[in-house]
């Protein structure tokens, strides 16, 4: 079979990129290998672990369960775009730091993308709601308590 190539233009963290990609290239691999944005981590590559979570037009999705060619014309946000341009952390990044919410850090980008979108929709979550929202992101260091604490703290700080 001839290689099935498609030209796509998409926005990633506000910047526009045009690339020719093979149809079978996953969005996760496109971000990492074609754009060099290796902050999006790949764990299971079949939609279970949540490490590769990015925002598609503002909503968290698994980038390993989407083809790059499907992102044509869409806006993607990744961990690289989360902090301010001057390097100031997003309140959730700061809270994760303060609460030691990172252990090995592998699951962290996916958790940050999932939970920042969650906090945008739910400014005053209960701890149960936070745990429910986190259910699609696996941390194999088993450090959920500190992550939950960080999200609760970030929510409080973001409410001001």
């Amino acid at each position: 079979m001839d290689t099935d190539l498609h030209e796509i233009t998409l926005s990633v963290n506000g910047a526009s990129y045009t690339r020719r990609v093979e149809s079978r290239m996953l969005l996760s691999d496109f971000l990492r290998h074609e754009l060099g944005l290796a902050g999006t981590h790949v764990g299971c590559e079949h939609g279970v672990c949540g490490a590769c979570t990015v925002l598609l037009d503002g909503e968290p999705v698994r980038s390993c369960l989407m083809l790059a060619v499907q992102a044509k014309g869409h806006a993607i946000s990744t961990i690289e775009g989360l902090a301010s341009k001057d390097g100031t952390y997003h309140p959730l990044q700061q809270a994760m730091h303060d609460h030691h919410g990172l252990q090995c850090g592998y699951c962290t980008p996916g958790i940050l993308m999932t939970m920042t979108a969650f906090l945008d929709e739910n400014a005053s979550p209960s701890e149960d709601e936070v745990r429910e929202a986190l259910s699609g992101n696996l941390c194999r260091c088993t450090g959920y308590q500190n992550i939950v604490d960080a999200v609760m703290t970030a929510a409080m700080r973001m409410r001001g």
Binding site: M1, T3, D4, H6, E22, S23, R24, M25, L26, D29, E45, H46, G47, G50, T53, L56, E59, P60, V61, R62, C64, L65, M66, L67, V69, Q70, K72, T114, F118, E132, A133, S135, G136, N137
Partner: protein, 291 residues
């Protein structure tokens, strides 16, 4: 690259998608949310030669309430249903099941039509479609037909869909007057496949006797299971505790779960019985209390 090579075509209209499927038949797969198909392709369990992306066909998504029915476009995503409070109140079975369907990231992409066409017997929506006596509108380039949920699911991951057909719309009859319903499931963790799940609907007559009961299950057979007959003894009766327990015991005798590494056949049967009791009791209460 994880998936094997394939030719990708973004369909520009339903007619375009159906013409492509007519041309390629079983060699082609429709790509909707991709939350079951892409994992299967990443494992190379599925190796379609052609992928017909239907995500650009806006007409396929959305809710269309009509007199006596609500029609759900096949491309409607779980998340869109979750955000629609009116829909969740009208169909509490679906409203209650949605949080159990995988995780938020999956619900942002996964579609109702994709779920039903995939026909995983452990999935919630097939059992609920069966409980609600949904009808599936199916189209090919040549014709359109309506399939009753009871005839749609023919085996594990197998449906009555022909190689040139697409499920385009799900028709849900409006809830019956004086009815209540309830969905419950038990899984090891939220979002995991259910050990057993039960959808119950109880409709009562004006004397508060059970007039009709629908009882379906997920996760305990090759297809979603219609066990409504287990509640035959309740018809014409008030839903007493004893009658509900008898229905649950009868249901346990009707199912033969396969068992798996997490739950033996006996445990699945036990869970199905307990959930049936609870779901029937709750559904009967909701006839009066509302959802």
């Amino acid at each position: 690259m994880k998936p094997a090579p394939f030719k990708y075509i973004a369909a520009t209209s339903l007619e375009h998608a159906l013409a492509l499927k007519a041309e390629h038949g079983d060699d082609a797969k429709f790509l909707a949310g991709g939350q079951s198909l892409i994992p299967a392709m990443n494992f190379r369990l599925a190796r379609p030669a052609v992928l017909i992306d239907i995500n650009g066909i806006g007409d396929l998504a959305g809710l269309r309430p009509q007199e006596g029915t609500v029609r759900i476009g096949a491309l409607t995503r779980y998340r869109a249903l979750q955000r629609d409070d009116t829909f969740g109140k009208l169909f509490p079975l679906i409203g209650e099941a949605l949080p159990h369907i995988a995780h938020p990231q999956i619900r942002n992409r996964g579609t109702v039509g994709g779920n039903l066409s995939h026909a995983d017997p452990a999935s919630e929506l097939p059992a609920i479609a069966l409980a609600l006596e949904a009808r599936f509108r199916v189209r090919s380039a040549k014709q359109e037909r309506l399939i009753a949920a009871a005839d749609f699911f023919t085996g594990a991951l197998t449906t009555d869909l022909q190689p040139d057909e697409m499920l385009v719309e799900i028709e849900l009859p409006a809830p019956k007057p004086r009815s209540g319903s309830c969905f419950m499931e038990i899984a090891r963790r939220r979002g995991d496949f259910a050990i057993a799940g039960v959808a119950a609907m109880v409709a009562m007559d004006t004397q508060d006797k059970c007039a009709e009961i629908r009882l379906t299950l997920c996760g305990v057979g090759e297809t979603p299971v219609d066990a409504s007959a287990a509640a035959d003894g309740l018809i014409g009766q008030a839903p007493s505790e004893q009658a509900i327990r008898d229905a649950a015991a009868s249901l346990q005798g009707m199912i033969e779960p396969a068992g798996n590494v997490h739950a033996t056949t006996e445990y699945q049967r036990h869970v199905a019985g307990v959930l049936t009791e609870r779901a029937l009791r709750t559904a009967a209460q909701r006839v009066h209390d509302g959802y």
